[in-house]
Symmetry: C2
Subunit: 395 residues, 2 copies
């Protein structure tokens, strides 16, 4: 058999976003433009490489890619799997067997860790492999980049949905005056903070923001709920699903069915349910909660056009970095200006990214225990595609 | 003081929808067109009449109404309040004092009950009052009408979000293969059934549908989850928030903070959380749940254009009925044809509507214990504005 021509292998990893297929489309279309002879996709992330469950992406109809560019989730399938040393050796063997020279990994923190490990393993054995990571996470918690593709779209969903749920609570204040909204984001409050992006003024939703960076003083929170209720007649509080109390204990356990995923992240949920029950019991006020769950990371109707474009560009740029011989890097975004918004892409060393978490900086948390600094808007509004339109109200 | 000119009074009641402001706009714009000299709005439903918390809707800028037509929730405020005999007398006194001759009430079952009571009380004392109810409920459970404004939009949200959450689960099947989605609708399964409207084929989401019309056999449900998982590798189950077990006990209690609202409807929630925990414990498979909560009844991004138009028309038609001297009626929809969709409006006697519930008929429930008959699509697809676009997948 003649030696195979060099191949590019792309995989998707971690929790899906509305735009990670846009990154995939960017990779495949750029690979085709650049004349890479073989383009493979791994099913279910690194698992597909381990099990040689691969697809020939050149065999897909070219008309598919513009459509996938506007399709949420991970078309190749995704996974969460921590690599062992043995896994790394097995993967490298597969890559060598298949003559894969470019390995592109669309993912978050854990994927950066995987990509870095593969880069190092390939160097150790002297195999010429370019490993480039394409950032993807609604949590927005990767270091080395201004922001992460996926965040802007989920943030727009949360900003809009908080206004929606707020308008509902405002109207129903005589029956159901307290609303809690449970938001994803792991240990970082970027997505929770996005709930404030449509807030029209002090009196309207959201009133209280509980980010994971601030352990929750439950008594102080209940006090703030009560005083907000007395003042405005209704309360909307947005709570991280990973919220913990002052002793570091997770508030919710309802969804803690199997304790942790492969990376040791506990499957926490139910913080909002717990607080809802506490509000009823301790304050005697009827409360409800919304938990949009995976819907918050899947809505194409509320995707950010900026985010969709950047995700595509990051995929395409990763191919160019790989072809330039850069390896062990991630495509990062550097912001040049807030308004007009202007970002450029650059290569970030994966060792600065892997297994690191970038949480909300102190400058966004200095405006009170349950609020987010207005400065955060300058950062986040361009990412969600501009302001959330204010709802009209009767005079 | 000269006797006041005759007034129209409009109020909004019950849980908000994306289109109940469209009905309000229809009322006000038609009242203006018809030359009704005074148009009042009651704040927070019937509560605003009791407390004389009223607004002059003629004083609002006319440009507001086209904007409110595309604003979710209840701009006047809403409430759930059961009227006592004393309340009825007090309300009638207010209506007489204010020379209200037309009382238009945008609401669901409980509001129809209130409207009917007011109609009767006015007749008893010989006060000339036209009471017309404008149907509004995402639950779609009013008798005497083909469907209720509000349903089509919430149904489109649920149909789309189930595809979204399904695509997420499909991609994450190796980590989180089971997804439950908790859906509103009180004791009727119309909204839960709408989750099936985007289902592309047998293998894809949603796989299991649990409507309140069918008490849940928990063992059978867990068996169906397991066999679906073995067959397709992932499972999406859509569950009514009011789901009860075979003994009639509600599955969830997490949100049962204050036991019931003014009409005695228990504040049930948490069915999905309970089933999620059971799946983990009994099947040992990692499960998650989404609970869109009030977000499902507030999304303008996913509102049905048909629903928005019909809600507006129902408001305008109610004014015409009142001016024609019809009282004690609700604007109903009669379907003439499924395709092309064609409905006409007519006046339905409120005594046929008040405190009645129209649940899913047997003909939609005869295709298996956890599915919805395909015939339901013919009924519901026109209401959500046509098919949900199928997501493209890799070949």
């Amino acid at each position: 058999m003649a030696p195979a021509q060099p191949a590019l292998l792309v995989a998707q990893s971690g929790g899906p976003t509305p735009v990670m297929n846009a990154s995939l489309a960017g990779v495949v279309e750029q690979a085709n433009l650049s004349g890479i002879p073989r383009v493979l996709g791994a099913r279910y992330g690194i698992q597909g490489v381990l099990q040689r469950d691969l697809m020939d992406l050149k065999a897909q109809p070219p008309t598919l890619w513009p459509r996938l560019r506007r399709t949420p989730s991970a078309a190749l399938g995704s996974c969460r799997r921590k690599l062992s040393g043995e896994d790394r050796q097995a993967i490298l063997k597969t890559l060598i067997d298949l003559q894969v020279r470019y390995f592109l990994y669309i993912g978050g923190n854990d994927s950066a860790d995987t990509a870095l490990a593969l880069d190092r393993t390939a160097r150790e054995v002297g195999y010429d492999l370019q490993v480039v990571s394409i950032p993807k996470t609604i949590d927005n918690d990767l270091p080395g980049t201004d922001h992460c593709p996926g965040y802007g779209s989920a943030a727009r969903f949360i900003a809009q949905s908080t206004q929606d749920a707020g308008l509902d609570t405002e109207a129903m204040r005589l029956s159901d005056p307290i609303k809690l909204i449970e938001v994803m984001g792991r240990d970082a409050g970027w997505l929770v903070a996005a709930a404030t992006l449509g807030k029209p003024d002090e009196a309207h939703a959201p009133h209280l923001i509980c980010v994971p960076e601030r352990p929750l003083d439950i008594d102080a929170f209940l006090g703030a709920v009560e005083s907000t209720y007395r003042r405005y007649g209704f309360v909307v509080a947005v709570v991280a699903e990973t919220i913990r109390d002052l002793a570091g204990r997770p508030l919710g356990t309802a969804n803690e069915v199997l304790a942790a995923d492969a990376f040791g992240h506990p499957n926490l949920a139910g913080g909002a349910a717990t607080l809802t029950a506490l509000i009823g019991r301790r304050l005697g006020i009827r409360a409800r909660f919304d938990k949009p769950g995976t819907i918050q990371r899947m809505s194409m109707a509320l995707a950010s056009p900026v985010d969709l474009d950047e995700a595509y560009s990051a995929g395409a740029r990763a191919v160019l970095y790989a072809l330039e011989g850069r390896s062990g890097c991630m495509v990062g975004f550097t912001r040049l200006e807030d308004a007009p918004y202007n970002c450029e892409m650059n290569a970030v060393d994966l060792s600065l990214v892997a297994n690191q978490q970038r949480v909300l900086p102190a400058e966004y948390l200095d405006s009170g225990p349950f609020s987010i600094s207005p400065r955060f808007r300058d950062y986040a509004l361009p990412l969600i595609g501009g302001p959330i339109e204010a709802y009209p109200r009767l005079l």
